[in-house]
Symmetry: D3
Subunit: 135 residues, 6 copies
């Protein structure tokens, strides 16, 4: 189920199809996953999100696999089922090993646990962590 139609290539309009073509070219695969097909009814939003994904996830000061691990961490914490599936698959496609997946899970689990404790205890931030006055 979905709250919008999931558009196939024919049902999508010309603007959306152009974005699909760029997704295919950039990722070097014919596969366009449902997230983009669900956005296709609003081509301006589709294009804006895709442009941002292409830019932010490109190699930079962090390598693309590390970016995917961060993406999985955020998606898990937000409880986004679709995103956990798609970005875990993307991390594997970018070379994530089983051992790396296991450590990713362990860090996410640990952080979730200590986040809850720090919030339950309402621990005051140590002044040593402040950067405000350093600019």
């Amino acid at each position: 189920m979905a709250t919008v139609p999931i558009l196939g290539d024919e049902a999508a309009g010309a603007e959306a199809r152009a974005v699909f073509a760029d997704i295919r070219a950039t990722r070097q695969t014919d596969f366009v996953n449902n997230f983009w097909r669900a956005l296709a009814a609003d081509p301006a939003l589709l294009a804006a999100v895709w442009e941002r994904v292409k830019l932010v996830m490109a190699p930079g000061a962090l390598d693309p696999l590390v970016k995917e691990l961060i993406y999985v961490a955020v998606s898990t914490t937000n409880g986004c089922s679709y995103c956990v599936h798609s970005h875990t698959a993307a991390a594997r496609a970018k070379g994530m090993t089983e051992a790396q997946h296991g450590e990713l899970l362990a860090v996410i689990a640990l952080a979730s646990q200590t986040n809850a404790l720090a919030t339950a205890l309402q621990v005051p931030v140590d002044p040593a962590f402040d950067r405000t006055s350093q600019g």
Copy 2:
């Protein structure tokens, strides 16, 4: 403010002080931050959390800086103010550059945005992402 006392070295009991000593030895610093001091009233919980942090955050298939970046991502998404402060500081201590921090922020922001969209659209998971039947 906090929901528990933040124990100084003298106020902490012997078991808690032993954990403080191990934190100091492991991190090679005299500084014991408030999170551990807030847990010190419950030495068994303090010890269990510290043992887990020491184990999970050690070098492995992922390097310690990558683990800190994942930690910051989870802490941000959970809205844990204390943890965002402490783990951003920890990432800097482990060598995070300004450029890496900027990319970390950009990935967190992008994931938060697409998580919200996938949830609002209730996008069905593509069968290609499934791993259930592969075991």
Copy 3:
């Protein structure tokens, strides 16, 4: 799947059926959606929630469609799959156009992104935003 039975009209008790009748009369439809049927095993909770929905979602200083848009925004952010489906449908029933849906999605996505950034940066609240002392 569910953690409680989803009661049909016959299985529901007299108190629950009375609430179902009021839902039907208020909404001018025979359709009673699963949320109410899942609550029907606890007629006091069912009645309390329905009374509140009827009161809060009625026309007032904000029009009913605007209230549904806010409802979708909260439900999306909470990751409530059922609620995203039911309130997106309700917004459409109250006249939400495709263009309005697209803008709703864009605002939710933008806010999710800037929320994450403000949290990751731990931006201090500007004194100009304070209202405490104005009462």
Copy 4:
């Protein structure tokens, strides 16, 4: 800081003062905490929330302390700083011991951890847990 004025007894209107009086009588204390004073600018909302708190938190099938522990668990998970403070204090006022607080924290931390893991793994729900068809 706050997004609304925090009304003292004089600044509050007659309706709000009547709710304050009922809070004082019910709790047998002169202290009215800031949550109620922040709601006081909207007496209808103030009264609705207070009536619900009074009803739901009263002794029933669960005892009042257990209800407070559940309240702290929800407030912690939602990251509501104010609520963590106020309901931890309320739990202590209702008799929560240090040992009980420690176990509450341990359960919250454990659940946060396994919640994250189940979400990251996207574990399918076992059919044995389903109750849908039992009604």
Copy 5:
């Protein structure tokens, strides 16, 4: 406290100052709030976020006040203290009345409550809410 410096006009670089100038011109005020100053150390991210805010929050199928109400709803649900403050102030600046604020709060509170119930009950989505097959 913050995890980054909050840059004044002089400390900000030329690119960041250009964004500040556009914020001032667009909003017709000299005031540049801390969110933008915290982003200023990363001018590319600052510019990308500001461009998106300017585009998405402009008048369209939804009026700017309605967009701010949605923004407050998302920010509240995400527990972003800074964003709740800044967007509540923005909503007031765009004309939000006290009565509208009260109804906004009531809808957010109601949705938070029914979201939690639907999740606790794991209510199955009614087929009537599905749009997948309609495209």
Copy 6:
């Protein structure tokens, strides 16, 4: 669907099978639910989580049913569908009555509502709730 294989007894390795055996012995049932089978590909993580569950959920200052109610509360607030199902079932197995379930739901709903209000209002914490200086 899942992001990892769900291992049956044969597919699991010796270490994982030893944990399964301890789960069966501790719970006095042959049933090993999918959460543990999804973790089984990483036996070290599986063992660490199970040891913690066994320790934390054992009888102590809080009784096991109360701990399960807290677990359901956290799982609901985190929106973890799997965990809501499994821990609601566990609570029933430990004796939760329908009346207790109804009150649990009512407290979770109430807390979710007041959490949202306190966050939207940004209510300042009353000094009376502070414990920092009491240690």
